[in-house]
């Protein structure tokens, strides 16, 4: 289920503009890795290269390798559609499909791969995924109402249920709590702690307390100035990154001296 990610000397470009330069990180299975850094430093871009979602923007391309248990996601003949089926993603704002019910939202990804799924298997999967996302008790009596009728925090957990329903190897989260209130944020953070038992999780966050609460390892990205590429400044154990970082810029950032 859970796989190891290795990023080797990755550069990300939009057309001829180099957005991110020279990123190398190793992400262990069943761990939570947080990407922190100021806005525009490329942390979301790097996250998106891990499931090739950056390619949605025309002209985006990468130089370097991303290995998922040794297999290069950017190797010749690798279909981005298959990559995304193995590596799930949760976005900044909750985005359930507005015309689908809660149940249909959970099943949306699974039915892409496997259209002939028996009704009872579907019911099991919906329950399992919603339980996995800590949403089951709140919605079990109204699985057929539209997903957009839920609160923001519930919608975000629905999106997590939708992502884990396809049993991905890795779960990417792009600032999953930035549109949520503190209570819903706490619910998501607790959920991340549980999901860690089964999945490799990479989370981008602007909230440093969040990074220190949920993650095992932290990667700090920074940018020298507008128009310059973002860089990975430091990558290490979260406790060390927040207490005793080896780079001055990291210490300035995590202690709130800038950014």
């Amino acid at each position: 289920m859970s796989k190891r990610i290795e990023v080797n000397d990755l550069d990300v470009y939009y057309g001829s503009f180099k957005a991110v330069e020279g990123v190398s990180v190793e992400i262990e299975p069943r761990s939570v890795t947080a990407f922190i850094g100021p806005s525009g430093c490329g942390k979301s871009t790097v996250l998106r290269t891990l499931n090739r979602m950056h390619e949605v923007i025309a002209g985006a391309w990468v130089d370097g390798e991303v290995l998922l248990d040794g297999a290069n996601l950017y190797g010749p003949g690798v279909d981005p559609v298959n990559v995304r089926r193995q590596i799930g993603m949760v976005f900044q704002r909750p985005n359930p499909f507005p015309t689908m019910s809660i149940r249909e939202n959970v099943l949306a990804g699974v039915l892409l791969n496997n259209r002939r799924m028996s009704r009872s298997d579907q019911d099991d999967l919906v329950e399992r995924s919603l339980r996995g996302a800590n949403l089951w008790n709140e919605v079990k009596d109204r699985l057929n109402i539209p997903g957009s009728g839920l609160s923001g925090g519930q919608q975000q957990r629905l999106c997590i249920a939708r992502a884990i329903a396809v049993s991905p190897d890795v779960l990417l989260m792009d600032e999953p709590c930035s549109a949520l209130d503190p209570i819903s944020t706490l619910a998501i953070e607790d959920l991340i702690e549980e999901l860690k038992q089964e999945y490799t999780i990479v989370i981008v966050t602007h909230n440093m307390q969040q990074a220190s609460r949920v993650s095992d390892k932290t990667a700090f990205f920074n940018i020298a100035g507008t128009g310059k590429p973002g860089k990975l400044i430091e990558f290490g154990e979260t406790t060390k990154m927040f207490s005793n970082p080896s780079v001055q810029a990291t210490e300035d950032y995590v202690s709130g001296r800038f950014g």
């Binding site: 025309a58 985005n95 499909f97 939708r162 992502a163």
Partner: protein, 310 residues
């Protein structure tokens, strides 16, 4: 009536001249459209009454006379929509989600240009090019698929059948539907598209999961606008269709139903007396059909509209 009146001592806000003038202009414009609509409706009803109540010279009743025309109008418009809507959606999807940006812009411009061609030109093209071109295939259809009620022989010798007219209509309504669908598809929330792609959807699966559901009400609305044009189109149909006034579903034969609008255009110059009232009465029927179509579409749109999905 517990609502307290505003204190009389409060001074009224000063009336700014620009606001007063703008309010007057916009109110006048709003009233004007109602007056125009009422004027048309009153004219149609008043002129149609003698035909509806009075004995007609040839036929039994007004209804029996107007029915074949109504049928022809609805049938040709239906056929046109059947061809135009899927093609329009496909073109709009190609422009918004498949074509490279430069090609998409050029293609979008071309489609808009298609809407600017006068209907007389479409009529000429239908008579001179399309009808002779299609005639041999009508013969083939009548020979080989003649057992289908749609292709009952004999085939038309000129090709100026209800199918040809419908194809011309379809080409005419295509740009309207395409242009509107394109705008709607472009407005699909990026979040929904990315949600589908991140689940491992192919481009087409993303379209069925995010783009089409989001655009559903817009597709209906644009189709209704296209249908409105197809129902009311006069010149192209009058020129292309060789009508006999028959009520038939045959697509390729020489017996074809006429449409209300084309019939008015063709017969009005020589009409006198009660015939004028009959033609205006048929116009009233067309007016009613259009109103009903619009009302139904409003209901459908209201029922299928989803909130932005954020």
């Amino acid at each position: 009536m517990t609502t307290a009146a505003p204190p009389a001592t409060r001074t009224a806000a000063p009336n700014r001249p620009a606001d007063v003038i703008f309010k007057a202009v916009s109110t006048t414009a709003g009233v004007l459209i109602l007056v125009a609509l009422a004027g048309v409706a009153i004219f149609l009803v008043a002129q149609a009454v003698p035909a509806i109540i009075g004995p007609l010279p040839e036929d039994d009743s007004f209804l029996a006379w107007v029915w074949p025309l109504t049928f022809g109008t609805l049938w040709s418009a239906f056929l046109a929509m059947l061809m135009a809507v899927p093609v329009a959606i496909a073109i709009a999807l190609f422009i918004t989600h498949f074509a490279p940006r430069r090609l998409a812009m050029g293609l979008g411009y071309l489609v808009d240009l298609l809407a600017a061609i006068p209907s007389v030109i479409y009529g000429l093209w239908g008579i001179a090019v399309l009808a002779p071109f299609l005639q041999p295939s009508y013969v083939w259809l009548a020979q080989n698929l003649g057992w289908l009620p749609l292709f009952t022989p004999p085939a038309s010798g000129t090709g100026r059948t209800v199918l040809t007219a419908s194809i011309v209509l379809a080409v005419m309504v295509l740009p309207i539907i395409t242009a509107l669908c394109r705008e709607i598809f472009l407005q699909t929330p990026r979040l929904n598209e990315e949600a589908a792609l991140a689940l491992g959807a192919t481009r087409w699966e993303m379209i069925t999961m995010a783009v089409l559901p989001h655009g559903r009400s817009g597709i209906i609305a644009s189709s209704i606008l296209g249908l409105g044009r197809a129902l009311g189109e006069t010149m192209a149909v009058a020129m292309v269709l060789a009508s006999s006034g028959a009520v038939t579903f045959v697509l390729v034969g020489s017996q074809n139903p006429s449409t209300i609008a084309a019939n008015i255009a063709l017969r009005f110059p020589e009409a006198h007396g009660l015939t004028v009232n009959m033609l205006i009465g048929s116009g009233l029927v067309l007016f009613a059909i259009t109103l009903i179509v619009n009302a139904v579409s409003r209901i459908i749109i209201a029922k299928t509209t989803v909130d932005g999905g954020r």
